[in-house]
């Protein structure tokens, strides 16, 4: 019997019998100062003067560790997710993760419509920081191009600038309060397609449900999927998947068990009303099956039977991709978030195969070799 300083932070059972790709990992910087070396003037000097203090959320967090796992604070200080060594230990090595897609949580989209040049400069600085301090640290890490979508031309330039880095796999589309089907955003889609990058939607602290953020944090957290559903509806109805035929989208952290409802609803509406949107040429469910993937986290506590039923209703075993959301408090364990009774082949698709196909990891490895 020993008293433990460094105990394993999770129950190591059951043994994982498939490889894992994690499609949503939130790396963070220690402080805004971490971006200074990568920031262009005049922003660098302004930031050095403390002219902007960074984002905060308009609510108080209620989970044990605030917004993060309470056991994810780096010993060296700094916020959860800011220490590559700890991330390696708690996530990549702990679950033998083959590849993990970094998705950040510093989204210049949250700056809104003012000073879009500043927002784009922050996105660029963040991308260079990500490349230098994260992607270089571990070949298992894959990157996301951060942009300021409120500056579509600047965003397109940024995608062209950094998107060819061999570990970059997608462009982040943070969900605030605007729908991405607006043609205003098409330069972003054109650039992503040009560079062979996927798109990834992810909520921000500004996302709202149909009636606002809710009175409580718990409500807001329950409402997040509405933002994801709204973006999906917007992209489909704007014909984005026709106009940019190579684009594919993963919806991160927005739930998945609602998908059967949404595809049935969209298909029915399309049959009735498609004259209004003739650029939507196929059944919405076709676009979804071919172009859209949903990340599993945060899983709902469903039984194995319920999982199988939902996937059957989605009409495809290829849509779900596993994510942990490390280091956030609603982290899903690769060992325990999928029910043990799920058939092995299906489990492997969710935990590994689907993401490998979506990001073309096989082809990427072949190109590099």
């Amino acid at each position: 019997m020993t008293q433990s300083a460094a105990v394993l932070d999770h129950d190591p059972s059951p043994v994982l019998d498939t490889p894992v790709i994690d499609v949503d990992v939130h790396e963070a910087f220690s402080s805004l100062d971490s971006l200074q070396p990568y920031l262009a003037e005049p922003w660098r000097e302004l930031m050095a003067q403390g002219a902007w203090k960074g984002f905060t959320q308009p609510f108080i967090y209620w989970a044990t560790g605030g917004g993060n796992r309470a056991d994810s604070n780096p010993e060296r200080g700094g916020p959860p997710g800011s220490d590559p060594e700890l991330l390696r230990r708690q996530l990549l090595d702990a679950y033998e993760i083959q590849a993990a897609v970094l998705t950040g949580y510093f989204y210049p989209a949250m700056l809104g419509d003012m000073q879009v040049e500043f927002a784009s400069a922050m996105a660029s600085a963040y991308n260079d920081y990500q490349v230098a301090e994260w992607l270089a640290a571990d070949p298992r890490l894959l990157g996301s191009v951060h942009i300021a979508p409120q500056d579509p031309e600047g965003a397109a330039r940024e995608i062209d600038r950094i998107g060819e880095h061999e570990q970059m796999v997608q462009v982040m589309l943070p969900i605030t309060t605007r729908a991405y089907g607006d043609p205003f955003y098409f330069p972003i889609f054109a650039a992503a397609q040009r560079r062979g990058l996927r798109l990834a939607t992810h909520h921000t602290v500004h996302v709202e449900g149909a009636l606002g953020m809710g009175r409580y944090y718990i409500e807001r957290h329950m409402l997040i999927p509405q933002g994801t559903m709204a973006q999906l509806v917007s992209l489909v109805c704007a014909g984005v998947f026709e106009r940019f035929p190579d684009l594919r989208v993963v919806c991160l952290e927005g739930g998945f068990s609602w998908l059967p409802h949404l595809i049935w609803r969209m298909d029915r509406e399309w049959r009735s009303l498609r004259q209004e949107v003739p650029w939507v040429k196929r059944l919405p469910s076709d676009y979804v099956a071919e172009k859209v993937r949903l990340a599993t986290q945060p899983v709902e506590d469903m039984t194995g039977d319920q999982w199988e039923k939902v996937i059957e209703l989605m009409g495809s075993e290829e849509i779900l991709m596993f994510a942990t959301d490390y280091p956030h408090f609603d982290f899903d364990s690769p060992l325990r978030s999928l029910p043990p009774r799920l058939p092995q082949a299906l489990k492997r698709k969710i935990l590994y195969d689907n993401a490998r196909e979506f990001y073309g990891l096989e082809e990427r490895a072949a190109t590099r070799a």
């Binding site: 020993t2 008293q3 433990s4 105990v7 932070d9 044990t64 796992r69 056991d71 506590d301 060992l335």
Partner: protein, 120 residues
């Protein structure tokens, strides 16, 4: 098997300590009232190590529709999804299906002693 966890002064009221029984962690808690309790340290939900969580109070609604806090240091909250466990019973506050094994704890000669099954 009885083991010495620590001296009483090393476990102040409202705090927890993790000890390993073989490969199984046991979280020993001292409540706000000074009682000792011990529960198995893997969360019954997704398996987080509960020693990384926090000992807190029970939060209920008061007569005016506000927050009523009671039973200080009797609720152990998981470091991940924040499920709450009553350390006096091992039961999850919100899900009767989730339950942690409990172990007897006592104090003798200024030491906190824990009775656990022999580790295999």
């Amino acid at each position: 098997m009885t083991v010495v966890v620590c001296g009483v002064e090393e476990l102040p009221r409202g705090s927890i300590m993790t000890v390993m029984n073989g490969d199984t962690p046991v979280v020993v808690a001292r409540t706000g009232a000074g009682e000792y309790h011990a529960v198995r340290g893997w969360c019954a939900h997704q398996g987080a190590m509960l020693g990384g969580g926090r000992l807190t109070w029970l939060t209920c609604e008061d007569a005016r529709g506000g927050y009523a806090l009671s039973r200080a240091g009797e609720i152990l909250r998981c470091p991940w999804h924040s499920f709450e466990y009553d350390v006096t019973t091992g039961r999850c506050v919100t899900d009767p299906k989730l339950r942690l094994r409990t172990y007897p704890v006592r104090v003798e000669d200024g030491n906190v002693l824990l009775d656990v099954p022999d580790a295999t």
